[in-house]
Structures are given as structure tokens and as C-alpha cells.
């Protein structure tokens, strides 16, 4: 312990004796660690945000769809296009023959729509949802002002609409939109409600740039030759898995899927969407760790270099120390401590810089960022490892110097 403290003091002395050179040497490690901290901060921030956003989707609900959800891999759309559409009878069948299922909500939606009033219009980016009256039960949607449409309006396909806050702000700035008329695809709709603000998904696309109309009205506007998304809520959270199995079996029967073939439809849960994001973030994490390792190796070579120079410059000192009774292990320890301290310092500066970047990203760009503590730990640990790995060879060179020869050096 005493030897360690002495070594630490010596190492600090060396660093302070040559701060600029030490800092330049550390650049590789600093950059590597700063990169990994920033990247992990971004990923982790997104992960937390995704999990929160998914939580808003509605409790113990899953969705049956023709199309895979977003997905981050290469998707063969042509293959999915051949799949049979989901239609109202599918929805009704689920309701009637799946005992674990509570609520069934068929919906459809179309993006890129433009809404207008006589005096204003939105950009053509609004998503129009067609839903039954019970949609708020299975989604995170709730009404801020006014009311959702009722069963009668839904079954009649009345032209009533609820606006997302972005749409309301564009069409009725600073006004209560309820009672006014808007046009969707040229057809008049009466505003009966304003939706609660939901924020943006993943901090990127807004969930408030949308409107809700009865599904029947939606079909009148956009036609019926489309596939529904069927949201299904289990009767009880405990029956969640069972409900999925029942729906899956029913759909396979209805769609004549042979026993040895996979489903020709998708079942999404919050979990499955989150899982696919997590899968992506894991890939990025691994890539990030790879980048970090690479720059740590570069940094390590810097340390190797500076330590070799240091040993050469201090050959005489090493000789004196050995003559005065320093054992090999002690000299080895001295130089290894120096290398590790140097690397650790680089790591610490990198962590500081990483946090700085995370803060900047948060503050200037509004990215959700969160640096998990284990990343800091790992980064510092890896820095130490690099210091040891690349410092041990120069230290061993120092330790095996012959004192007489070494003292003769200049």
C-alpha cells in the first residue's frame, strides 16, 4: 500500500512535470471515451423515451396487422402485400370466439392528409384515423375538450372529428375548435373534441398531428379495400398471453395457414415494438463499444509510445533507484502505475467531455439523453485496462535495466 502511494505520487509528479505532452498522449483515449459516453447517452435516452412512449399505447393491448411494424431491417414489402387483408368480419370473429378477449377495436389510418377551414389549412402531413367509439379504451388517446364520438355516430358514419393539438393549433390558433367545421378530402366534418397532447414518439415524429373520425366515415373517404389494424385488449392483464394465443389460432384457421407455416399476419405488443427498438439499440451499443475499443487501442499505442520515451529519458533515474535498492517489481509497479494513471486520467477527461456533449445535445438539440452509470464505470475500467496493457511492456523494459549501465546513460 505504501509502495502504491509512493508510485502514485511519482506518477502524478511525472504527469505534472509534462502536462502538455501527457494530454496530447491521452487524446486517443479522451476521444474514445467521450464518443462512447455520448453515444450511450443518446441510445439510453432514446430507450427510456421509447419505453415511456410505448407505455402510452394502452394497457395489456396488442395489435393484429397485415404489415410488420416499422422494423429496422430490410423489409420485403412485396411479400407482405400478397397477404390477405384484415376486414370487419375478422374483427367480429375475434370478439365472438375468443373468450379471453375483452375489447376489440378495428382501426384504419391514412397519413399525408391536409385539413382545411375557409381561412387556414394544415400541411399535408396529418394522419387521419378511422376508429370505433371505444377507441380511447385501447389507446393512449384521451379527450381534452369536448367528447369522443359515440356508438351511434360511429355506426352511422357521421362526419364528426376530434383534432390533435398540432392540427388544432394550425387551424384554430388560440381558439376552442369545438363546434367549428373542417374539411377533410374536401368533405365537411364538425369538430366535437380536442385530443390531449401526447408529445412526440422517440422525440422525432409528433403524435399530435392527427385526427380521429368514425371508421365508417373513414371508409367513405378512403375506400374499403384496405386492411384494418385490429387492436385487442385482454379481459384481464393475466390473460394477455392467452388472448394472443387465441387470436393467433383463430386467425390461422380463418386464413387457412397450414400447420407447418408461420403466421401470415403480425401480432404487435408494446413489448414487441420495444424489443425491436432494443434490438437496434443493442446493435448500436455494440458498434459503439467497438468504436470505443478501437480508439482506446489508438490511445493505448500513444501510451505505449510515451512510456517507452519516458523509460528512455529516465534510464539514469531507474539506474539510481535500482542501485539504491529498488527491486524489479517496484520499478515495474512505478511505471505501470504511471501508465494506468495516465490512461485513467484520459478516461476521466473523456467522461467529462462526453457529459458535456450529452448536455449540449440535450440543451441545444433537445435529444433525450441519459448516461447510465455502468457506461462510465466501463469506460474508466477499459481505460485502466488499456493503460495496463500498453504500459506493461515499457515498465518491464525499465524493470530489467542493469543499474550500472543505466546510471551511465545520459
Amino acid at each position: 500500500m505504501r509502495a502504491f502511494l509512493d508510485n502514485l505520487r511519482l506518477a502524478l509528479g511525472t504527469f505534472l512535470g509534462n502536462p502538455l505532452r501527457s494530454l496530447l498522449t491521452l487524446l486517443g483515449i479522451v476521444i474514445g471515451v467521450a464518443t462512447v459516453i455520448t453515444m450511450m447517452g443518446l441510445i439510453e435516452g432514446l430507450r427510456i423515451k421509447v419505453n415511456n412512449d410505448m407505455g402510452r399505447m394502452g394497457a395489456h393491448t396488442f395489435q393484429v396487422t397485415k404489415w410488420p411494424a416499422g422494423g429496422f431491417g430490410r423489409i420485403n414489402w412485396a411479400k407482405y402485400a400478397k397477404r390477405q387483408d384484415f376486414e370487419m368480419p375478422d374483427s367480429r370473429a375475434i370478439e365472438e370466439s375468443c373468450p379471453s378477449v375483452g375489447t376489440v377495436v378495428p382501426t384504419d389510418d391514412e397519413g399525408g392528409q391536409k385539413l382545411s377551414t375557409p381561412s387556414a389549412e394544415t400541411r399535408p402531413s396529418v394522419r387521419v384515423f378511422g376508429t370505433p367509439a371505444n377507441y380511447p379504451l385501447v389507446s393512449g388517446v384521451s379527450v381534452q375538450v369536448g367528447r369522443y364520438f359515440n356508438d351511434v355516430e360511429a355506426l352511422d358514419g357521421r362526419h364528426v372529428v376530434l383534432l390533435g393539438t398540432d392540427v388544432a393549433d394550425a387551424l384554430f390558433p388560440g381558439m376552442n375548435p369545438v363546434g367549428h367545421e373542417v374539411r377533410i378530402k374536401g368533405r365537411p366534418f364538425r369538430v366535437i373534441g380536442l385530443l390531449q397532447k401526447r408529445g412526440s414518439m422517440l422525440g422525432m415524429f409528433s403524435m399530435d398531428n392527427q385526427v380521429m373520425i368514425p371508421l365508417r366515415a373513414f371508409h367513405q373517404l378512403y375506400g374499403k379495400a384496405r386492411s384494418l389494424d385490429i387492436s385487442v385488449q385482454a379481459k384481464d392483464p393475466a390473460l394477455f398471453k392467452k388472448a394472443q394465443d387465441e387470436v393467433s389460432a383463430l386467425m390461422r384457421r380463418r386464413r387457412d395457414v397450414p400447420a407447418n407455416m408461420p403466421n401470415d399476419f403480425e401480432i404487435h405488443t408494446n413489448e414487441s415494438v420495444t424489443a425491436s427498438f432494443n434490438q437496434l439499440s443493442n446493435v448500436i451499443t455494440i458498434a459503439g463499444v467497438g468504436v470505443c475499443l478501437l480508439s482506446l487501442v489508438v490511445g493505448g499505442i500513444g501510451i505505449l509510445n510515451i512510456m517507452l520515451v519516458s523509460v528512455m529519458e529516465r534510464t539514469r533515474e531507474i539506474g539510481v533507484r535500482k542501485a539504491l535498492g529498488a527491486r524489479k517489481r517496484r520499478i515495474l509497479g512505478q511505471f505501470a502505475t504511471e501508465a494506468i494513471l495516465l490512461a485513467l486520467l484520459g478516461g476521466a477527461i473523456g467522461v467529462g467531455m462526453g457529459f458535456g456533449l450529452v448536455f449540449l445535445g440535450n440543451w441545444m438539440l433537445g435529444f433525450p439523453m441519459h448516461v447510465p452509470p455502468w457506461v462510465v464505470g466501463l469506460a474508466l475500467f477499459m481505460s485502466c485496462g488499456v493503460g495496463l496493457l500498453f504500459g506493461i511492456y515499457p515498465a518491464a523494459q525499465a524493470a530489467k535495466l542493469d543499474p550500472v549501465e543505466a546510471m551511465r546513460a545520459d
Binding site: 509502495a3 539506474g319 539504491l324 535498492g325 527491486r327 543499474p403 546510471m407
Partner: protein, 251 residues
């Protein structure tokens, strides 16, 4: 503990030591069967021209090198076959080095330099500081202890080095041309210090090529061509240079 050459109970007992180097396939025999003893409290000069083997002798005596054959007993321990790390411990405990070029660490203060041997003994910081101050006091340098070597004169540097040699209370002080880098007045100052240390009972071994310095020592051993050619009163050995060389040439 008689000063004369007996064999048992000596601090240093060197028996038929050889040291052979292999330089580019050629054999260089730096020491060719050297035997002598040095008692506790003796002050002995080892004198010789360059190439006489005195530097090799100094390295062997200082446990910085091991003999090719023969036996070296230091303070009752056979150090001639020890490993590097064992020798490091012996150097730390038994030997206080004083070098021609002082060999102080340039970035450390005088005090830190003097503390160094105690650092490798694993002594607590406070105790080694106290001891280092006491050692600096012995060479009258307490007032300069927070200065770095480049802020000290040559004589002061050598006194710091002597304090460093004294601080570990070694069995012997081993000085290699201690006045070689000093002007004559400062050199004289250092020799006086050696005289005081000798009177205080320290064992001093002084390796030099200067007859004048050797003449100040009670005893001198002359090496030539890797062998002892004279061993006796310092003044006589130092002055008898010419005849000794002739003797060797005739042998």
C-alpha cells in the same frame, strides 16, 4: 575487528574473485583472482589506472555485479550467487553509494533524494523524513533540503549524496571517484568529511585513480590488470606507483 588482514569476522571478505566479460566474442578478464578482506571501521582506497579492473571491483563490492567465480562475503552473507532482487535488498541495507556524478534525481528535492533508500525499505513517510533530515544535518545541509540538485553547488550535491548514503545506516560507504567532478577546494572539503566519517566509525571504501586521494587513506589496494599488485599503507601504495607497474610488467 582488527584492521589488519586476517580472514574471519571481516565485514568484507573477497576470495579469489574473477570477472570475465564477453565482448563481441572476445573474452575480457577484468578481474583475475582477487582476494582481500576489509574490517569494520576501515578506510580503504582501491586505486588503479583505467582498465585496471577497479571499476569492475567497485561494481562487485557494491553488489551491482556478480563475480564470474570466487566468493564474496559481505557482513556474513555470501552475496556472490544472489539473484538481482536479493542483491537489491543487500544494496539497500548494507551499502551506501557515493558516485562521481552524484546520481541525484534531478526533479526531487535534496530531502526527497536522501529519503530514497528508505522508500525502498518500506519505511513510513514521517519516519523517513525525520531520518533524512538527520542525515542532511550530518553533512550540514539542512538549510538546503528543499532545493533541487540544480540549485546546489557541486560540493553541496556530493554532500546530499553522502547524506543519502548515510541515511540507511549501511555497513559500508562505497565511493566511486567522489572528488572527480569537484574542484580541488571542494574536493578537499569532501575528503575532510570522509575523515570525519572514518573517525565516527564508518567503514569507507573509496575507488579512485588519484594517488593523492589514495594517500589520504590509512590503507590502499592497488589493482593492475585485474590483479592486486600492492596492499598496504595508503601513502606508500599511492607513491609506489612506478615500481608496482614495473613489477607487473616483469611478472
Amino acid at each position: 575487528m582488527s584492521a589488519a588482514s586476517g580472514s574471519a569476522g571481516k565485514l568484507i571478505q573477497v576470495e579469489d574473485i574473477t570477472r570475465v566479460f564477453h565482448v563481441g566474442g572476445e573474452e575480457v578478464r577484468a578481474l583475475r583472482g582477487v582476494s582481500f578482506g576489509i574490517g569494520r571501521g576501515e578506510w580503504v582506497a582501491i586505486i588503479g589506472q583505467s582498465g585496471s579492473g577497479k571499476s569492475t571491483m567497485m561494481n562487485v563490492l557494491g553488489c551491482l555485479d556478480t563475480p564470474s567465480s570466487g566468493r564474496y562475503m559481505l557482513n556474513g552473507k555470501d552475496v556472490s550467487r544472489m539473484s538481482d532482487d536479493e542483491l537489491a535488498v543487500i544494496r539497500n541495507v548494507e551499502i551506501g553509494f557515493i558516485f562521481q556524478t552524484f546520481q541525484l534525481l534531478p526533479k526531487e528535492t535534496a530531502l526527497a533524494n536522501v529519503e530514497l533508500p528508505l522508500v525502498y525499505r518500506g519505511m513510513a513517510a514521517r519516519e523517513r523524513r525525520e531520518r533524512a533530515k538527520a542525515a542532511l544535518d550530518k553533512v550540514q545541509l539542512t538549510h538546503r533540503m528543499h532545493h533541487r540538485p540544480n540549485e546546489l553547488s557541486g560540493g553541496q550535491r556530493q554532500r546530499v549524496a553522502i547524506a543519502r548514503a548515510l541515511v540507511s545506516e549501511p555497513s559500508m560507504l562505497l565511493a566511486d571517484e567522489p572528488t572527480g567532478n569537484l574542484d580541488s577546494a571542494t574536493g578537499e572539503e569532501i575528503v575532510r568529511l570522509f575523515e570525519q566519517l572514518h573517525q565516527a566509525g564508518h567503514t569507507l571504501v573509496l575507488v579512485t585513480h588519484e594517488p593523492k586521494l589514495a594517500a589520504r587513506c590509512p590503507r590502499a589496494i592497488r589493482l593492475s590488470d585485474g590483479q592486486i599488485v600492492a596492499d598496504g599503507n595508503g601513502r606508500e601504495v599511492a607513491m609506489g606507483t612506478a615500481s608496482d607497474v614495473l613489477n607487473v610488467g616483469g611478472a
